[in-house]
């Protein structure tokens, strides 16, 4: 892929700054822009089920997996491969859909993303950088 880096500034909320990124996502052949919390500790990216339903995407027909979240509990997710846009770059990612994530943000995890971009969190500068690189 190769090319210019994509930089997202951390977003201030109630005295904290969080690494979120506005990305494009194609569901049901329609592109949407929405915010993801960039979570380098997450294997999977997770999208909220109500977002998918509003976009007319029947996510429950996907492969059902149980995944573990940070508090140790298991939540069901339904896996699909969907087109995603990060800055000027479009990639296909495996995405879990869930009604049980427990937080408002969608999550951007490592699978199919961190193997296409070097993702660097620069805490003092409050930025997260996606640096695309060639894959074989």
């Amino acid at each position: 892929m190769g090319g210019a880096s994509v930089v997202f500034r951390y977003k201030p909320m109630l005295g904290r700054r969080s690494p979120t990124a506005t990305l494009g996502l194609s569901l049901n052949e329609s592109w949407h822009s929405t915010d993801f919390y960039v979570d380098s500790g997450a294997t999977y990216s997770i999208l909220h089920g109500d977002f998918a339903r509003a976009a007319g995407f029947e996510f429950a027909r996907g492969e059902r997996l149980l995944i573990k979240v940070g508090d140790g509990s298991l939540i069901p997710v339904y896996m699909h491969r969907v087109p995603m846009q990060i800055g000027p770059y479009r990639i296909d990612v495996r995405m879990g859909f869930s009604d049980n994530l427990g937080i408002g943000f969608h999550l951007l995890g490592r699978l199919d993303v961190f193997d296409r971009f070097r993702v660097c969190f620069h805490e003092p500068a409050h930025i997260v950088t996606f640096d695309p690189f060639e894959t074989r």
Binding site: M1, F8, R9, K11, P12, M13, L14, R16, S18, T20, A21, T22, L23, G24, S26, S30, W31, H32, S33, T34, D35, Y37, D39, G41, A42, T43, Y44, I46, H48, D50, F51, R53, A54, A55, L65, L66, I67, K68, V69, G70, D71, L74, I75, P83, Q85, G87, P88, Y89, R90, I91, G96, L101, G102, I103, G104, F105, L107, G109
Partner: protein, 87 residues
């Protein structure tokens, strides 16, 4: 590389809007879904369906940028990393 579907400048503009307004949204509309179009807050609803419907009612043909505004306790919580169960 595949053809793009959203102008990257549009994604940049929405990201900048979030940076500028997220703190205000967390204070004013916690837990709600917001819709933004052309730099303007166009809808606040209980769910995404509300916001897409409000955009359509205003004659907006493109899908607006959407975000579920975090609650104050989410902001202070550790966001949950997710792992496969066979880790």
């Amino acid at each position: 590389m595949n053809a793009l579907a959203i102008d990257p400048a549009e994604l940049d503009a929405y990201d900048a809007w979030v940076e500028q307004h997220l703190d205000e949204m967390v204070q004013q509309h916690p837990g709600k879904v917001i819709g933004v179009y052309n730099g303007r807050l166009i809808a606040v609803g209980d769910d995404y369906r509300d916001v897409f419907a409000a955009a359509a009612k205003q004659g907006i043909k493109q899908k607006p940028f959407t975000l579920r505004v975090p609650m104050a306790d989410e902001v202070n919580a550790v966001f949950p990393s997710v792992f496969p169960t066979n880790d």
